[in-house]
């Protein structure tokens, strides 16, 4: 996964960048299966690797597919990112270690969802239970965001066809 990202940073052919990004998304989905997040992995494989790649390829079809050589050396951005990264690595020392069952994340609401969720809603998949029942308003908000984005895309790209028709 890290190799794919490094290759992606160095490649200037945008088609190769998009294909590498699809590969990276699939690898991320595999990691998510290993992290027991099967629903998320399925969504990532379908949306991240499939739909995003299609979107990027569609945009690439409408644009040039070669990136220009950067005009200046990337030393300043490199320094900024490495500096930020080091600060964040310093911050990870205060986080609980991997797979620590006594970490706060496992002791507050999650046990209740796991114990009561299936009994209250009758759905054995707890992820579905929380998504549709306990946090249903979240999902409603998500739908609103997707709807707004769709309106935005139509407003941006639909205008073009309107203008072209006006010229004819």
């Amino acid at each position: 996964m890290m190799i794919a990202v490094v290759a992606l940073t160095r490649t200037r052919n945008l088609f190769a960048v998009v294909v590498l990004f699809g590969l990276y998304s699939f690898l991320t989905a595999t990691v998510m299966v290993a992290l027991d997040a099967v629903d998320v992995a399925m969504t990532e494989a379908a949306i991240g690797a499939g739909f995003s790649t299609v979107l990027l390829l569609g945009a690439l079809h409408l644009c040039k597919s070669e990136e220009e050589k950067p005009a200046h050396k990337p030393w300043l951005p490199l320094a900024v990112t490495i500096g930020t990264g080091l600060v964040l690595v310093y911050g990870t020392w205060d986080l609980p270690p991997f797979s620590d069952a006594t970490a706060p994340i496992h002791t507050h609401v999650a046990p209740r969802y796991l114990a009561d969720g299936p009994r209250v809603t009758g759905v054995p998949n707890v992820v579905t239970t929380i998504l549709a029942s306990y946090r249903g308003f979240d999902t409603l908000g998500e739908t609103v965001v997707v709807f707004t984005a769709g309106i935005g895309v139509i407003a941006l790209l639909g205008r073009r066809r309107y203008v072209r028709r006006g010229k004819q």
């Binding site: 569609g58 990264g85 797979s99 998949n125 998504l131 997707v146």
Partner: protein, 126 residues
């Protein structure tokens, strides 16, 4: 506390910083969006890794299992993935519009055209 207990965070941070680097250093707008998507994916991993317990199973309740991974981050990330693809679509639509207006998706070139409109070939046409 040993070296590998925080290894997962460092992989995630490496991915996040690569995404940030692409967003800052590369001038091509499509590549910037790909960098932003990588940054987003690293945040998904940041949420998912603390929820995992070694030896646990996916949070689908069954009589033969007792230990489950935390389902709450997975729900939040499901929402985040869909919102992420919506923002990506909107960004790409903006890039396509910019390409029509400036005939370029390189940031440097767009800035130059903005500073010196006489350079713009489309402006010269009546």
């Amino acid at each position: 506390m040993n070296f590998f207990s925080h290894y997962d965070y460092w992989v995630m941070l490496f991915l996040a910083m690569s995404g940030l680097f692409i967003v800052i250093a590369r001038g091509n707008l499509i590549k910037k969006l790909v960098g932003l998507a990588i940054l987003q994916t690293s945040v998904y991993l940041l949420y998912l890794t603390p929820g995992k317990i070694v030896g646990a199973t996916a949070p689908i309740v069954d009589a033969s299992f007792t230990v489950y991974s935390n389902p709450l981050p997975q729900v939040l990330i499901l929402t985040a993935i869909v919102v992420g693809v919506a923002t990506l679509a909107l960004g790409l639509a903006l890039v396509v519009r910019i390409r029509e207006e400036y005939d370029s998706i390189e940031e440097d070139e767009i800035l130059r055209l903005d500073l010196d409109p006489a350079d713009d070939k489309r402006e010269a046409k009546p």
